[in-house]
Symmetry: none
Subunit: 207 residues, 4 copies
């Protein structure tokens, strides 16, 4: 967003400026296309300056991603954990997920769309991982919904992943400029959420 160059920021904010610029740039290309030099040129610093704040290209990308996941988590977790019915909590979570993507397209692209070299140090099962946390919550609410007969008896992991895939797909389509003319964003999101909720709801559901 802020296209501002140097000098208009305080002492240590270069790090933030780098992160913001990097996110925007990563969002419009692949990992390989992203170049430290272009980033440097964009923020008006020497390429070397970046290395004072991040050890290398991969580190920079990782930091950008981590930020995103944390924000995404903040946006969704409380909706998934609120006391309403599991089905309604899930519906609210789905919508919030897509909305986050739509409102932070570059964050989302970088963190979830950009293909990048696998990070061997990454512990995908760490409880601290925001993605893991969201997934665990979704799974929990599904289980709860099944227990209270709001939701059909379904395999928890298959269903949770299926739902995630669906909202990820919609987010992706809404974010990436495509030739195909999509319907109105809000109506589409509403319909999508309803479709998925109907897909898991028990048949006698009031849904």
């Amino acid at each position: 967003m802020s296209a501002g160059g140097r000098k208009d920021r305080g002492k240590d904010d270069l790090r933030l400026e780098i992160l913001n610029a990097a996110r925007d740039m990563f969002a419009t290309g692949t990992f390989e296309e992203f170049s430290m030099r272009k980033l440097a040129a964009r923020i008006g610093y020497s390429a070397t300056a970046i290395y004072l704040h991040f050890t290398d290209k991969r580190d920079l990308l990782n930091c950008v991603c981590q930020e995103t996941f944390e924000e995404l988590s903040r946006a969704i977790v409380h909706l998934l954990t609120r006391t309403a019915s599991p089905l309604e909590a899930i519906r609210a979570g789905l919508k919030a997920y897509v909305q986050f993507g739509v409102e932070h397209p570059n964050h989302y692209k970088v963190a979830l769309l950009l293909e990048r070299p696998r990070n061997p140090d990454y512990d995908s099962s760490a409880a601290t991982n925001p993605g893991v946390r969201i997934y665990a919550l979704l799974r929990e609410r599904l289980a709860e919904g099944i227990r209270c007969a709001e939701i059909r008896p379904l395999d928890l992991d298959l269903t949770a992943q299926s739902i995630w895939a669906s909202v990820h797909g919609l987010t992706t389509l809404l974010i990436i400029e495509r030739d195909f003319p999509l319907e109105n964003r809000d109506r589409l999101l509403e319909a999508h959420a309803s479709l998925l909720i109907a897909g898991v709801a028990a048949k006698n559901s009031t849904e």
Copy 2:
């Protein structure tokens, strides 16, 4: 298929040989890893020779892409048009879509995931466009399903796009290497299709 180099082909077949090799190379590497030089080395011709058949790298890629869409169409259209119930036709189509993506991951990526400058010559509404054709078919079967009460009364475009988004999402997740450990591919696909079918099916459906 034929890994044979030059000399074992007729006069003008170099074009085909290039396309075949390019397709294979996309299938085993990322977009950026693909290089005209490596392609040339692989087919045993000079790099220059490629430029006699394709104006540049992008042109070559576009040709590969177009092929992909046609293959995707071939893989799906007959399933969507077969005489079975609309719901079953749609289910079969969904699964075929994902399977195609999984089996041709780099083609799918190039064609549907890769962000690239809009092609001004592209007519997104052309009936000849394979994507358009698939969408139209899906919409038709949905309408038919609604008419025969297999499917709930839903907005056709919202639902068709919602379904497409869902399968696109699953395809994407299955294709792109991610840290998150997904469930078994076939079971996931099965569950996904069932979820979506359940989401659109009429409540008294036998589904």
Copy 3:
């Protein structure tokens, strides 16, 4: 020697021009200090052009070295193999060795003075290796000299290596500009050879 740039050479002579320039440049620095770009600038071609003739920096250095060893071999072998007495053959060989170094200082520096990453593909015992060939000849003549009592009974390898070390040392000192003022080159070489010959000669030698 030839500082001539491009255009004054024929079709494929770029390779030779590269080799010559590379030798001169390697001779005045370490492997790391040598830069492909500087070489390119020096010969007036793009850096890329070098890679059309040599796969990389190391390959280029290896070629330069190999050339040198072959020339060195040519300069010495016939002297070591001539029919004169072993002692005289050795004396002639020693002097020719040093003279080669003095007359081709850059060749010598690159091949025998420059510290460089070990080449794992290098077979130091290959009979085709000119250095090995010279060493083997020296060893042979020593053996012969011992048999005919011109030379004291000495360990062949220790002596051959010791002699080589000595002439290498003198060559080095004569080549590298040093602050210390050496004696007249020819007299020094003469004295050096005599010292070494006296060192190995049998006591009753007429030497």
Copy 4:
């Protein structure tokens, strides 16, 4: 020796700490691998701090070098001046010289192998110069040996330089990693010294 970082030393000892660390780093890497940044990191100070004690990289290196010469001198001089026979003193000196080089390979390289711009401030004839001192001593003992008939009547300078060249050559070969497999270091050194001593000894020498 002390690997301890900062804070465990007095006020102005940073200079010493830098010199010590620099010496150690030279000993385990090549000239180019040495970097001011790595040095700074190693001693736990900022890179800038080094510049408060040495004007630049070269200055730092020169200081390390000078130290080296002084150590070399210390290691040899007393051997050359001891009361034993001139021949034995020279033999001991030769061996000590090579041994010093082998034990301080990077110091030797930097001081005697590395080609670098001539230092205009350097007075090669200054009596304080440790190299000059060693040379003078060698020359003296040769003269003495000739006087007492232990040594053949030889030109003093030619012979001294010839001997120096020989030990320098052996030191060089032993220091620089080469593809050629040399004999056992100690035996080679022994043989080398004996060869040179035999080369200068009078024929009736008991050697």
